[in-house]
Symmetry: C2
Subunit: 285 residues, 2 copies
């Protein structure tokens, strides 16, 4: 049971975490912190949080747990404020989509507090954002990856794990670099491709007809291009090493397809499409 949970960034992830823990009676009070007063007012109105604040120092007094659920690009500023105000025992965790850079931020700003820092990443993204997107059960049967620092205490790690499990999530543990390599491939690369694809469509003179005639394949393929631009700018910059490598590999694969098309090589196209189709059809989640 947490006496006081502070959520910094009350959006889809932070808000849904608060809702689930309140429903599970694992937290007494949730304080939300954010840049947008309108969003905090909405969060209060929806009872996602019990109190709102724009002042980190006063809000984290007596906090048991602080969840950083802002875009990664804002975490440095938030941690600098936390460094001066955090109670000695408070656990700090985060929901950042990249983990190598967030680990470096913990070291830079909370070096005295690393035993209580538990970097994490709930895999429950969405193109929705803001407190109004928060909902019960968002993490049910979803995965949460924790990437503890060398210094993270087993007890702090266990407590964070338990809270995510109480939200219905399956918790996995790996190193920050393993995490970042995998998510460059399965998440960051698809987002970059979807953004680039939509922009290449917009550059066409017949873009309006295209959008009018686009069907369900387009709908699903481009859903992630509706994602939060600032958050995704931060993610791709934070993880640009692995991402650039994956982009190069993707371009090679695409050039192979282009060569097959130019050559009219039906057998090679079939074989490649079949390989992808079989894996995708067999993928269960």
């Amino acid at each position: 049971m947490l006496n006081k949970l502070v959520i910094i960034g009350v959006g889809l992830i932070g808000g849904s975490f608060a809702l689930d823990l309140k429903r599970a009676r694992l937290v007494r009070e949730v304080v939300g912190i954010g840049r947008s007063e309108a969003n905090l007012a909405r969060a209060l109105q929806l009872k996602v949080i019990d109190a709102a604040s724009q002042d980190v120092a006063s809000a984290v007094q007596d906090a048991d747990l602080v969840l950083l659920a802002t875009p990664v690009g804002q975490m440095a500023g938030v941690m600098a404020q936390l460094a001066r105000a955090l109670p000695h025992d408070a656990i700090v965790t985060d929901a950042g989509s990249t983990k190598g850079d967030v680990a470096a931020l913990y070291r830079a700003h909370l070096g005295h507090h690393l035993a209580r820092c538990v970097p994490g990443h709930p895999i429950a993204g969405s193109d929705l954002s803001g407190a109004a997107a928060a909902r019960y059960g968002l993490f049910e049967a979803k995965k949460v990856v924790l990437t503890p620092l060398e210094e993270t205490s087993p007890e702090a790690l266990a407590r964070v794990r338990l809270l995510w499990e109480a939200c219905g999530a399956e918790v996995l543990q790996m190193s920050a670099s393993e995490h970042d390599a995998v998510f460059a491939a399965v998440s960051h690369l698809p987002h970059v491709l979807a953004f680039a694809y939509v922009n290449s469509l917009l550059a066409r003179p017949d873009a309006a007809s295209c959008l009018q005639l686009a069907g369900s394949g387009f709908r699903d393929f481009t859903r992630i291009a509706g994602s939060h631009p600032e958050m995704w700018r931060d993610i791709v910059l934070a993880n640009r090493g692995p991402l650039l490598a994956d982009l190069a590999a993707f371009k090679q694969q695409l050039d192979k397809t282009i060569a097959q098309l130019e050559a009219g090589d039906a057998a090679a196209l079939s074989a490649d499409f079949l390989a992808a189709s079989q894996v995708r059809s067999g993928w269960k989640r």
Copy 2:
């Protein structure tokens, strides 16, 4: 009211068309033709069709309308058989995803019959295939594009339009080349990108971890990579001119993103992601 409808290729599209027209009492008898006896047996069992045949010549005797719903790559062979057997008045239409090449096939094989030929493309794709995927209402609120030949009679065009409208579809009309340019952009390119993306993932040594940790963004982005490989081989080859141009434009856009990433140009990344995100979020379908 059609006395006899012949569906060549009883899959998602052909089967769903038959179901809707039967429910609307617009057809007395549906005869299904296909290469797979198991699929035809399934179609009979599910009452998608009333009779099955593997012989085009006998099946199309007395037919009022023939729908070609096979992959485009099989249409030449089917039309060659139709040429010898088609009743003088029978309307021929198709559901091919490319229209320039199908128009050429009509001219090559059914030159004597062009007034009764109505090329078409229902926009209701899916990664599902086979008669078992057929369902009522598939075309409800979907678009169907008809690309009549110069020779197509207004009466034949009107009859095909009416049948699709009876299935709940919105029918549009354009030239084959307009159609092919738009669908290269909104459908064929995304499929090629999704196939290439899945194949680039499979080439990784940590592909298994990637598939295990992939989330809902991956799920939607790659759904079309589960599509029918043979059908998509035919489509991309049939429309490779416009598709190769779109691939080149996409690669340019991707190179722009890569340069922004390499330069760490946060403002340019934000601006491009925002442009895509706004269009995608505002897109309604």
